[in-house]
Amino acid sequence: MQKYLARRFVLAFVTLLAVSLIIFIMSRVSGDPRHIYLDDYSTQEDWDRMGVVLGLDKPYYQQYGLFLKGAIRGDLGESVREARPVTSVIWERLPATLMLGAVAFTLSLLIGVPLGILSAIKRGTPLDALGKLVALIGQSAPPFWLGIMLMFFFAVKLGVLPPYGKQDWNSIVLPAVTLGWYYAAANLRLVRSAMLDVLDSEYIKLARAKGVNSRTVILKHAFRNALIPPLTFAGVTLGALVTGSLVVETVFAWPGLGRLAIEALFAFDYPLLQGVVITFTLLYVIAAFIVDVLYAYVDPRIRYA
């Protein structure tokens, strides 16, 4: 177990390092950062002084070292638009994104997993058909369209939920449903097919032959095995829910990191954009690590491999 976790940890670290390198290269390829910080009235002197401040006078490998050092200290440069440290801007927006991601993730599990189990047990019944419909909509409707439709129906027509922004507790409902539906659908399908496979297995037959009742067979013997594929997927989901919020946050004017990224993009605020990308990566890697730990907990074959 320790060995497995250590390996995962090292892997997570390597991922972060690789991403940081890519970001560094891209930021240099996209042009001299002084073009952003300085305006047309700057002199050659300003240009050179700025170069020394940003470390641009040093060779590239040293620049990368400086970039890393700054990133570890939490110094990701200064936002051009807001004229304050990138980290403090991100720090402000992070909670909203985390909250939206967490609610959407919980929703995707609460809807996807039970519906998946039921669809498998009641295979071929109307319930299974309902599950298929939920999955079909979730997986085929693009989030921006789904978001607008939900907004139109629940906010405009029925007027029961706020259409956008983040004011009351219920403002989160529509964006979370929009964001979570796709993953609920994916979970539903994964759990259903995993459950069908598992229920057909020999060990389920043996469990029933031992006299275990059907409820325990499903909830204990089958469920834990059927959890393995969706859990694998949860690694992707957790990360994607945070990063994939770009569209949904924009549609619902949700003041999170996704919207911040779009704003930064339109304002040519590259340091800020770079900071958001690094934050996304960090969140992704943390999510993947958590899932790896859970994975080992559920499946002993991984724990002892």
Binding site: S201, E202, Y203, K205, L206, A207, R208, A209, K210, G211, V212, N213, S214, H221, R224, N225, V298, D299, P300, R301, Y304
Partner: protein, 329 residues
């Protein structure tokens, strides 16, 4: 409740005209079509036949584990210890499965749940069927694991199935089977996926366990070598029916149904050198579209006109030895 038949010979299990059908898109598959047999205390009955003859469906029917739908026990009785299993509710069956009638299934690699420890899985049946404190459940589980010769049983309890070899896993499955002293233990090709030396060990183990506890064994197999070694009586199945039934001696010395004779002839012999091994020509009939007469007619070397008109009745060859063939009438 109890049936009065054969009180003095102590029949443990009596199967009467059992029929298990499956509804499929091709029609009704008559996987088990009217089989009857009984099992006495301490006896071993072999059920032999080729793949798809209904052996495993028979086993599942006895455990009442036929997946419904599409399968269903259409008629018949399975009388175990006075109860007709066909009539029992799922709840009542839960009390009988694993305690009075238990199962060892074919594939040790897949028959244990990968996410629970060996200890958990052995203890489970004991917990369900015996009302004893937690501490004794563990003791009991340890005892059965020792009984099936698992070395270092104590530390093995904490192991997961993937940490054990196939032979070891099959022993664990055996331990689960005997953990609640069942009256009847059904072994469905328990040694098919084990290599030959392990196979011999396992068969000896089953035999010893049976001697200790006086339980009755139903051995489902296609291997006549195992039948000769393990069984007292044999039922030969073909296309969902028992075509011949008798003691091991009867079956081997005087196979009276052409199918049994052909099966025995297709067992390779060590002392005879042949260029080509004997095999039975043709395929068994599709179970959803059985012929009117004898289902073996198309492959039978001694087929008569009569065979294609009606299914033969069971004829008595000698005491306790019957076969369903027109040749015998």
């Amino acid at each position: 409740m109890a049936t009065e038949t054969r009180i003095n010979t102590e029949t443990v299990l009596e199967v009467e005209d059992l029929r298990t059908y499956f509804r499929t898109r091709w029609g009704t598959v008559k996987a088990v079509d009217g089989i009857s047999f009984d099992l006495r205390k301490g006896e071993t009955l072999g059920i032999v036949g080729e793949s798809g003859c209904g052996k495993s469906v028979t086993m599942l029917s006895l455990m009442r584990l036929i997946p419904t739908p599409p399968g269903r026990i259409v008629s018949g009785k399975i009388i175990l210890d006075g109860d007709d299993l066909v009539q029992l509710s799922e709840n009542e069956l839960g009390k009988i499965r694993g305690s009075k009638i238990a199962l060892i299934i074919q594939d040790p690699m897949t028959s244990l749940n990968p996410v629970f420890t060996i200890g958990d899985q052995v203890e489970e049946a004991i917990k369900i069927h015996q009302d004893i404190p937690k501490r004794s459940v563990m003791e009991h589980a340890l005892q059965v694991l020792r009984k099936v010769n698992i070395p270092a049983a104590e530390s093995r309890m904490k192991d997961y199935p993937h940490q054990m070899s196939g032979g070891m896993r099959q022993r664990v499955v055996g331990a689960i089977g005997i953990s609640c002293q069942p009256k009847v233990l059904i072994a469905d090709e328990p040694t098919t996926s084990l290599d030959v030396t392990i196979q011999a060990q396992y068969l000896k183990l089953l035999k010893d366990l049976q001697k200790d506890s006086d339980m009755s064994l139903i051995f489902i197999t296609h291997d006549f070598g195992i039948v000769a070694k393990m069984c007292d009586r044999v039922a030969v199945m073909y296309a969902g029916r028992i075509v011949e039934h008798g003691s091991v001696r009867d079956i081997f010395n005087n196979p009276s149904h052409p199918y049994t004779a052909a099966l025995l002839a297709s067992v390779p012999k060590m002392d005879v050198d042949v260029d080509r091994l004997f095999s039975i020509e043709g395929q068994p009939p599709p179970l959803h579209n059985l012929p009117v007469g004898c289902s073996f007619a198309d492959r039978c070397p001694v087929v008569m006109d009569k065979c294609r008109e009606a299914y033969p009745n069971r004829s008595t060859v000698s005491d306790g030895h019957t076969a369903a063939c027109w040749k015998l009438e």
